[in-house]
């Protein structure tokens, strides 16, 4: 049986052991400072990792590596590890660095010392070998049959910049074409930036598009990336150009060591080589050498007064249109400068405003290698016969001489303008606002004080019916007048027609007279009248000589359709009787009574009517 005393004792003992153990533990964690590389041998173009591990210290400060020649050192950060070994904790901090060798050869990473808690710790030195890249990329053996000396190969042989200029002597104002070539062999370049040009005394133009091609130099095939850019010197003298730098990233294979850490030693076997390759990007700056450019000043001798500032080789053209205008009409003058050189800085020759020419603001535009000036001018009078010649002077850098191109003069034909020159709006889409010089009073005319003829809105006289009525009436009147005229004319020219028209009128008159005779019982007078009436009537009506009129001759003239023959017979009978009575009254007037006369009178009327109607 375990007594309470025993239990108490074992507890105290356990605690004591534990306590001792802990104190032992606390003292057991030792401080260490180690340096390690992930590989001792790499190919040129690769990078290796240096890890500095400090453990056993609570507060571990940061680390900065000193420079090592031939190695490009970049910090990759640090990590903290806490591991459990044999029952106690260990805390360590690892600083990793990426080292990128520039040359083939042996490198010695020196030992590093650190002071921790008053004590000095140091790492061991490490040797690393860097060898050249083998393989089909290198055609040297194939072409020259010689084994190259790869011992001296550096990264600079694999990745470098070549800079070429078209001339190393330029004039101030001239442009300098710089071609930058990036040669790449045996390394993988990613994210190449635009080249940076440093140097004082010139401005850098815009980069053209980059081009890529392949080139074999001394038996080695390179991938080449070309950038072209124009430089414009801003001062004279000897200018240093460069170095030109280009930033990019190199794609670097992760070494086996790293792989091992990531994936475990099982995959260390050669069998797995290549499958689990991973890459990381290492930033890199490629530099060119330096160059010297001589910038010359333009010679003062022979410099024309109207020098445009253009340096290079140019062509100059002028267009004037239209050339046939009225005074006050606009003419457009177009100047065109094309060529190689500092076209931006070229100044156009200025035209002079004279009494005969009025000038307006010119408009200058530029596209690619063309600079265009458009200017509107207006001839003020017809005495203007030509636009004077225009000169363009530039400095030809090749020949080293000033050259002048003259265009014109341009003959102009200005015609007189009758009337006022109203507002001329020159070009519907012109951006310029031209000042109008014509009679612009300072204000509008004042209002009128008379109200004038106030009429209702919308009432137009010519829309009123009365307007049309008047016109129509007038036309009708005229029409009647015309018809009257025609009738008169016919009456005058057409005798037969006239006579025939006259017949009834005469007859009517005579009948009235006959009536009088009838009333006064004048038999002789009556029949005389009737006889005369009939004869004259028929003479007129049928255009017969009066003397030939008799019953027979009249009947002869009548031809009527069968339908009317009854009526005609009736009339004939009556007519016959009247003629007979005219004869009877001569020698036997007593036989004729008043009634007979009355009857005959009525018959006469009837006859006249009938003939009027039917003929």
């Amino acid at each position: 049986m375990i007594s309470i005393y025993q239990i108490k004792k074992s507890i105290i003992l356990t605690i004591a052991i534990l306590a001792i153990g802990l104190t032992i533990n606390a003292q057991a964690q030792s401080v260490s400072f180690t340096a390690e590389v992930d590989t001792n041998k790499i190919e040129l173009g690769g990078a290796f990792q240096l890890s500095l591990a400090v453990s056993g210290v609570e507060n571990i400060p940061g680390f900065n590596l000193p420079e090592i020649e031939g190695l490009n050192i970049r910090s990759s950060g640090s990590s903290t590890n806490i591991t459990m070994i044999n029952g106690h904790y260990e805390k360590s901090r690892t600083f990793t660095f990426s080292l990128f060798p520039m040359k083939v050869g042996f490198y010695e990473i020196p030992s590093f010392t650190a002071e921790i808690d008053g004590k000095t710790y140091s790492t061991e030195a490490i040797s690393v070998e860097v060898v050249d890249t083998p393989g089909p990329v290198n055609n040297q053996i194939a072409s020259s049959g010689q084994v190259p000396d790869s011992a001296n190969t550096s990264i600079k042989d694999k990745l470098f910049l070549v800079v070429k200029t078209d001339k190393n002597k330029v004039y101030l104002g001239e442009s300098l074409l710089v071609k930058i070539y990036l040669y790449v062999n045996g390394v993988s370049v990613r994210d190449p930036q635009m080249p940076r040009i440093e140097g004082v005394g010139f401005t850098v133009g815009e980069f053209d598009k980059r081009t890529q091609f392949q080139q074999i130099v001394e038996g080695v095939r390179y991938d080449v990336v070309e950038h072209d850019v124009f430089l414009y010197p801003t001062r004279t003298g000897t200018l240093e150009l460069g170095p030109i730098k280009l930033d990019c990233n190199l794609l670097v294979k992760n070494n086996q060591q790293t792989n091992r850490r990531s994936f475990g030693s099982f995959f260390d076997d050669e069998f797995f080589e290549g499958i689990f390759d991973s890459y990381r990007r290492v930033p890199m700056t490629v530099e060119s050498g330096k160059g010297v450019i001589n910038v010359l000043e333009l010679p003062q001798e022979g410099k024309p007064d109207d020098f445009s500032g253009g340096v290079g080789s140019y062509d100059f053209n002028v267009q004037v249109s239209p050339t046939d205008v009225k005074e006050g009409d606009p003419i457009t003058l177009k100047m065109n400068v094309t060529g190689q050189g500092n076209i931006n800085a070229v100044n156009f020759p200025k035209l002079k405003e004279t009494n005969e020419i009025k000038l307006y603001e010119p408009q200058i535009s530029q596209n690619n290698g063309d600079k265009i000036l458009e200017q509107v001018l207006i001839p003020r009078s017809k005495t203007l016969t030509e636009i004077p010649a225009i000169k363009f002077s530039y400095f030809d850098s090749e020949s080293g001489e000033y050259k002048t191109i003259t265009r014109g003069p341009f003959p102009i034909n200005v015609q007189e303008r009758e009337g006022d020159i109203g507002l001329r709006i020159i070009g519907g889409d012109s951006k310029n606002d031209f000042n109008v010089e014509e009679e612009l009073g300072s204000d509008i005319v004042f209002i009128k004080s008379e109200i004038g003829n106030v009429k209702p809105i919308g009432i137009k006289k010519y829309k009123q019916p009365s307007f049309y009525i008047i016109i129509v009436c007038a036309l009708i009147l005229w029409f009647f007048g015309y018809v009257y005229y025609l009738r008169n004319e016919r009456l005058k020219t057409d005798v037969v027609y006239a006579k025939r028209k006259h017949a009834p009128k005469y007859a009517k008159k005579q009948i009235a007279k006959a009536k009088n005779f009838l009333v006064s019982e004048d038999k002789h007078g009556f029949y005389d009248c009737i006889y005369k009436t009939l004869k004259k009537y028929f003479s007129n009506k049928f255009h017969m000589p009066v003397g030939t009129v008799s019953f027979e001759s009249v009947i002869d003239r009548c031809r009527i359709s069968k339908a009317d023959s009854d009526v005609l017979n009736n009339i004939k009978a009556k007519l016959k009787r009247i003629f007979e009575e005219c004869d009877i009254v001569r020698y036997a007037a007593g036989q004729i009574s008043h009634d007979i006369m009355q009857n005959s009178f009525e018959d006469l009327e009837e006859i006249i009517d009938f003939y009027e109607r039917k003929f």
Binding site: I444, I447, K460, K461, G481
Partner: protein, 260 residues
């Protein structure tokens, strides 16, 4: 009995005479219906002199709203609009004044003055003939053209008849007739042309956009400025298809313009 009959006759006579006089007076006397336009006109003048242009505009517009117009009223209204800064309305009313008084120098001057201040779109180079026709029709009002044309025509007809009756066969007579006939035709033709040109013309009142279609979201074809004169071609749902002086066509909202 006889005397009363006679006096009755007299009364009737007097009555008829009086009626005739009344009718004559009515026919002869000037038809001056309202004094209101004149009162407003004078008031407006006072406002204009005191530079109260908005009030002047109000007065003139009231006259017009009442349905009365005269060239002078339009001219004064246009002046007032101009002073007030509405170039579009100014041009509109100058156009109206011009239609009534085409040869008035003041209207012409002010009209040209305003046009210089707005961005007008030049018409395509019109032919020489068209320029002459425009000048001719611009010189006369439409009423004048038709009246003169008709009158000359009737005179020509009358002379013709006269020559017929009087047996005038001289060449000069014939020439006169031909000339008169041509003139009559020219004037009547000019009248037709002017009326056709005047119909459906409008003035843009605000700077606006002419679009390809009568919709707010249609693409803009070109811009129109206040004071531009356009011809209205078609109407659709609050939009008007207009033609500019350079023959470009587009749709504008109806509120942005006003017919002359």
């Amino acid at each position: 009995m006889v005397s009363t009959a006679v006096s009755q006759d007299k009364n009737i006579k007097y009555f008829i005479k009086g009626l005739i006089v009344l009718i004559a007076l009515f026919v002869i006397s000037p038809v001056n219906a309202d004094d209101k336009p004149l009162a407003r006109f004078v008031t407006a003048e006072r406002f204009y002199k005191e530079k109260e242009y908005k009030k002047a505009i109000e007065q003139y517009e009231l006259i017009i709203k009442d349905g009365e117009e005269s060239g002078q009223i339009y001219y004064n209204l246009a002046n007032s609009y101009f002073k007030n800064g509405n170039y579009g309305k100014a041009v509109l009313n100058y156009e109206r004044a011009k239609r009534i008084m085409p040869r008035d120098r003041d209207v012409d001057y002010n009209y040209k003055y305003v046009l210089k201040l707005i961005k007008d779109f030049g018409s395509e180079n019109k032919g020489f003939m068209i320029k002459i026709i425009d000048k001719f029709t611009g010189f006369h009002s439409d009423q004048e053209l038709v009246t003169i044309g008709v009158t000359i025509g009737l005179v020509a007809l009358g002379l013709y008849l006269l020559f017929l009756f009087m047996k005038v066969t001289l060449i000069i007579g014939k020439i006169i007739l031909v000339v008169l006939s041509v003139l009559a035709v020219v004037y009547m033709g000019g009248f037709k042309y002017k009326v056709q040109k005047q119909v459906g013309t409008a003035v843009i009142l605000d700077n606006s956009d002419a679009r390809f279609e009568p919709r707010e979201d249609a693409t803009i074809h070109f811009k129109l400025n206040e004071g531009n004169r356009v011809k209205m071609m078609k109407f659709e749902g609050g939009w008007v298809k207009i033609k500019r002086a350079d023959n470009k066509q587009g749709w504008v909202q109806q509120i942005n313009l006003e017919g002359i």
